[in-house]
Subunit: 211 residues, 2 copies
Amino acid sequence: MQIAIVVFDRFTALDAVGPYETLGRLPGAETVFVAERTGLVRSDTGNLALTADKAFAEVSSPDIVVVAGGPGQAALMENQPLLDWLRAADATSTWTTSVCTGSLLLAAAGFLDGRRATSHWLALDQLKRFGAEPTPERVVFDGKYVTAAGVSSGIDMGLTLLGRIAGDEYAQTVQLATEYDPQPPYDAGSPDKAPAHLVEELRAMSRFILT
Amino acid sequence: MQIAIVVFDRFTALDAVGPYETLGRLPGAETVFVAERTGLVRSDTGNLALTADKAFAEVSSPDIVVVAGGPGQAALMENQPLLDWLRAADATSTWTTSVCTGSLLLAAAGFLDGRRATSHWLALDQLKRFGAEPTPERVVFDGKYVTAAGVSSGIDMGLTLLGRIAGDEYAQTVQLATEYDPQPPYDAGSPDKAPAHLVEELRAMSRFILT
């Protein structure tokens, strides 16, 4: 069983690390970070760099595909090496998944036409352009396609999918091992819950960030 | 303002990435991943490698120190370069913090004697050896020392500390931007909540892992 986590320049680190730390604990699974070329891939802040241990050409038939999101996604919407690899990998994958704006890359590859899907709340509407049905839930299953909302939601997606594959008890063990008993100091993690003026401020900023 | 996140061979990736993705969004802050030597540092699973962009010698007076945990911590409890750097950095830091078993390294450096502190639930008792008072809470403040529980708790620690430094509204904005509205599929993230037999199984396994 191979899990391929797709990363790219200006990805959001937690998008990739959430599923890695949960789903990646699947017994017997090999998790690989994959990009067009091997080597360092730097995150959106510029302060973190992960290694892509494998290039697309070296990962031909992963069982599970996880596509991270982040500001770098916008530049990849017509990137042929990425879209070609996604289509080939998806042809034989058991699950094809994304976190945050990674779902826009799944959509660009043509996977989400007519399907329910989610994304970062600021990017949700963009799914419509590709025929997907924006679904403001944290983790959305539609057939073998699993999309997660913004950034931190990949932890919930990873545990949920882990439970489907390895059983509830195994997923609970991973939740316990990672001490995932969240206690955020605020209840501001979604646009429905955050103070309205903060939602509007971020929405205004996003016009410059998410192009 | 400089935030130094200490990583090492066999660290747990989410321990480091949780604070990076939250606290690291502090306005005007530079976040650096630091290790004894620059270059790749591989995580506990072996499947993820981060770059330490700076060596200890290059980071002399960070404002905030964050020490990650993970199985690699055990081999470092008497590591002089690390302990020397921690003591020098702590002498001028505003906040000295840890996630997971990173608190055992803070304890080994002598910072937690007589202080309340937390750690991964499986390692909590080990704090006593260093005169600390094990405190089974998710985020524990004692003076300028902030310790977080296992792995995922670094997200809560990062947001909490961000709020103290940059104000509640700024921290809420980061929570909203990272869509940190956790919805775990199970309620098994702490030993009080998980099924008892899973807690016992992990405890038995940990005798081999946490040496």
